[in-house]
Subunit: 345 residues, 2 copies
DNA sequence: ATGAAAGCGCTAACAG
DNA sequence: CTGTTAGCGCTTTCAT
């Protein structure tokens, strides 16, 4: 007989699964057990201790589903990861994963659990409403706007406890936390140009709104300084990226002398392909990345990049969400990017 | 008036929040609404369509908490990440995050949601029982045994739907999926020795059971071949690791000519420190890693490493868990490691 | 300080 | 094919 069982008066083995079971053994009412286990100060200390002892002895845990149903609160924050374009990779993308790690730390500290949901909007129009309306989460953090900006806007009008990681647009209605991508793009271009670059290639997918903003910033600076700039569409999935970049390099060799990669992941792959072609960085070709992932300081040569403060981002997401949960209609939070100068530009 | 509202006979605005509300509008019973929305074939097509139309019009979603409580199923798999030693890093460790990404993909495909819980066993004795007994998850995947092997064993005796990522010990009772770490360690040492190494240093924390197994495998081979091997304790947190490794390198310079890093993360940092000291890899010092993360092919020079098949691991975890959910007491799954020869050894 | 009772919103067995 | 009914296990008035 396991120690989570007990016998009733007829001698049958009975498992303690509910408050009522426990109440019967303790000789009190279910209400009292509920109060005792919740640490309600109204219960007699003796009674509470007795109840706690029995609960421990039988390994009893109140059913959270029932509790949540009754209290209309779940203690769970939903994390939605929309996989708009580039469906394969997104969720194992280093940047998103790092952000998720920090979110988990922050939310756990505040006593919330995380419910992770990977959504493919193209296959499920209703993804966001479903997640929110399910009654399974108290609030939602959306990681990345992908190509769902409009849908998020619509939902935001009727649902307060939602915060989104992504790009900030003038006049948008949903609460967003993110880096000033446009400014980041400017910093990157300025650095390249200051290093003597005369023609820039942007490696990335400008369909993604954040990347588009990074490019726009770079373009603004380049045009002002009379430097040419072009987009070389590049995906994030690591299998295809290598080849894609190799092809781009072949195409631009000798013409372009500066590369602005939309993410460090792209930059790192790019650096490797460049090495294989025997091109010297930074002498012949200068490279700037975006993100400042942990790997970026470990490349050869170490990568010059635009840093996003991921920890601050996670903290911001959680703080704003908690304030919204409390009924506060918070403003968006746009974080400043920082140029980290290493050796590639 | 938002389109999710309607008016009752007295003209007051009424939001449709429950099956009963919807039933009243549709002029049927709640039971019928429940069946219709569940796609139960017993309902008249006309009735179903009408109910679906009303539901859509009012943006109605059944409350999952209530549904789950009633059905005693949650559709959620709990993912527990015990942070035993090295509390800071684990959840943003590249390997675990990549595994988590694959798990999310697999589970989503099978129709499950993921509930992520970061646990610090030292602060919470009861972490696993709490997670399981909470009634919030149908089953649990534990990512990493950390120093919790015994506790996991105890729980496994009374709880079937649990699968653990980690190391397999002869005769253990919990169902585990993982790489054959010992064999992996052997492969690494064999490679180093075949490359001419005469003295090996293992960089890693042998308190972690998986790392201990990797070291044990390497040691076995080294001793058989008459090669000396030592452990240089190294943490995973990126801030401290750099310095720690730099110190180790200073200490062993000229004595040790082969490094076996417990993880690629350590290996990558190590490579960087080596480069900064002006030591030539692989001529003066050979390095083998473990994991084969995406970065590992991008380092300079590209890292020779022991590959863990993360995708297969995630698939295995999910398959076994689903079988256990169906009542099957499955065996553990030990995956073979593969030596990936690049340029560091 | 405790008990009794009324649900939270949904589903499923049973009865038509 | 549909309505009725009885809970799932817990929390929280309202009494006492």
């Amino acid at each position: 007989m396991a120690d989570t069982d007990s016998k009733d008066r007829a001698g049958r083995v009975t498992k303690v699964r509910t408050l009522a079971d426990l109440a019967k053994i303790a000789g009190v009412s279910p209400g009292t057990v509920s109060r005792a286990l919740a640490g309600n100060s109204l219960v007699n200390t003796k009674t509470r201790e007795k109840i706690e002892a029995i609960a421990r002895e039988h390994g009893f845990r109140p059913n959270q589903m029932a509790s949540k149903l009754r209290r209309q609160k779940t203690g769970v924050i939903g994390i939605a990861i929309p996989l708009g374009h580039d469906v394969r990779q997104k969720i194992s993308d280093a940047f998103f994963m790092t952000l998720l790690g920090h979110l988990a730390a922050e939310l756990t500290e505040k006593g919330y659990d995380l419910m992770l949901r990977r959504v493919i909007p193209a296959q499920d129009e209703d993804w966001l409403d479903r997640f929110i309306g399910s009654g399974m989460v108290d609030g939602v953090i959306v990681i990345g706007q992908s190509d769902q900006f409009e849908r998020i806007e619509e939902v935001a009008d009727g649902y307060l406890p939602m915060v989104v990681w992504g790009n900030h647009q003038e006049g948008q209605r949903h609460c967003v936390v993110g880096t000033n991508n446009r400014l980041g793009g400017k910093l990157a271009a300025e650095r390249l140009i200051a290093s003597g670059v005369k023609e820039i290639a942007f490696l990335g997918d400008t369909q993604a709104i954040e990347f588009a903003a990074r490019f726009a910033g770079a373009k603004e600076v380049a045009e002002k300084m009379g430097v040419r700039i072009r987009v070389l569409p590049t995906h994030l999935s690591p299998e295809r990226t290598g080849e894609e970049i190799a092809e781009h390099l072949r195409e631009i060799e000798g013409k372009v002398d500066g590369i602005f990669a939309a993410t460090d992941t792209i930059a790192v792959t790019c650096l490797k392909e460049i090495r294989e072609r025997g091109i010297d960085v930074p002498r012949q070709l200068k490279v700037v990345g975006f993100d400042d992932l942990p790997i970026s300081s470990q490349t050869a040569p170490p990568l010059t990049t635009v840093r996003q403060d991921i920890a601050a981002g996670a903290k911001g997401l959680v703080d704003l969400l908690l304030r919204r949960l409390a009924g506060d209609d918070t403003e968006s939070l746009v974080l400043p990017p920082h140029l980290i100068i290493r050796e590639t530009a």
